[in-house]
């Protein structure tokens, strides 16, 4: 049974049965796990994070403070 479940749930990652997806989303949300919690940022997304968090930009822009 255990191996059958592993194969079925792996197949679910491909097939995306809506009822199963709903139950999975509910469980993973409840425990804070799953793909939506582990996505890796793309290179484009990373540049946006860098820009947003880079306070050196503010320090160098003297006109901003005057």
């Amino acid at each position: 049974m255990s191996k059958n479940l592993k194969h079925l749930f792996d197949f679910q990652k491909f097939e995306g049965n809506s009822r199963l997806s709903s139950m999975i989303a509910e469980t993973e949300s409840r425990y804070g796990v799953g793909m939506s919690h582990n996505l890796e940022l793309s290179d484009d997304e990373l540049t946006l994070v860098s820009a947003a968090g880079n306070t050196d930009i503010m320090k160098d822009d003297k006109d901003f403070w005057n």
Binding site: K3, D10, F14, N17, I24
Partner: protein
């Protein structure tokens, strides 16, 4: 026996999202995922003419190509921790249960489980947490988690047509 015969042109339209969804469930890097997606469809088109749709499900066939392509990717990168060894290279042994009907049967059975058992099954078999990790997440002792796991398997076995 599958009833719907699909043409080569329809394959991408019907399966592109499913293939990418599966790849992204295993590989978080977008660039790698896109490369693999292309590789999968290249293989599909190369093998399509030799695939007998009257004898096997297109969905299961494409899933198998996708799964094997992802496995090869991890093997090439020597990322052994990502390879789910126990579902690899098992040939056609499980092909017969990999269909929409069995997924619906699983959904029926899961819906009837108590929430605790359902959560455990999903966290362990879908999300991929070990039972020790499930125990931590669900604030249960490890021994109790194993008991609940066995109970859940028994309930599922009774409700499904597979063993």
């Amino acid at each position: 026996m599958p009833s719907k015969v699909i043409g080569k042109e329809e394959l991408y339209i019907e399966y592109a999202d499913k293939v990418m969804g599966y790849i992204r469930s295993k590989i978080t890097n977008q660039a790698d995922a896109e490369d693999l997606h292309s590789t999968v469809f290249l293989k599909i088109y190369q093998k399509f003419d030799t695939f007998d749709q009257t004898k096997a499900s297109v969905s299961t066939w494409i899933y198998t190509i996708t799964k094997n392509t992802v496995t090869d990717f991890f093997r090439t990168r020597h990322v052994h921790s990502e390879i789910e060894e126990d579902i690899l290279d098992e040939g056609d042994e499980y092909q017969g249960i990999l269909d929409e009907e069995t997924l619906n049967e699983l959904a029926d059975a899961l819906e009837k489980l108590p929430q605790r058992e359902r959560d455990l099954i999903i966290l362990h078999y879908y999300t991929g947490l070990t039972l020790k990790e499930v125990a931590v997440k669900m604030s249960m002792s490890y021994s109790n988690t194993k008991l609940v796991h066995n109970k859940a398997l028994m309930l599922l076995r009774n409700r499904m047509d597979i063993d």
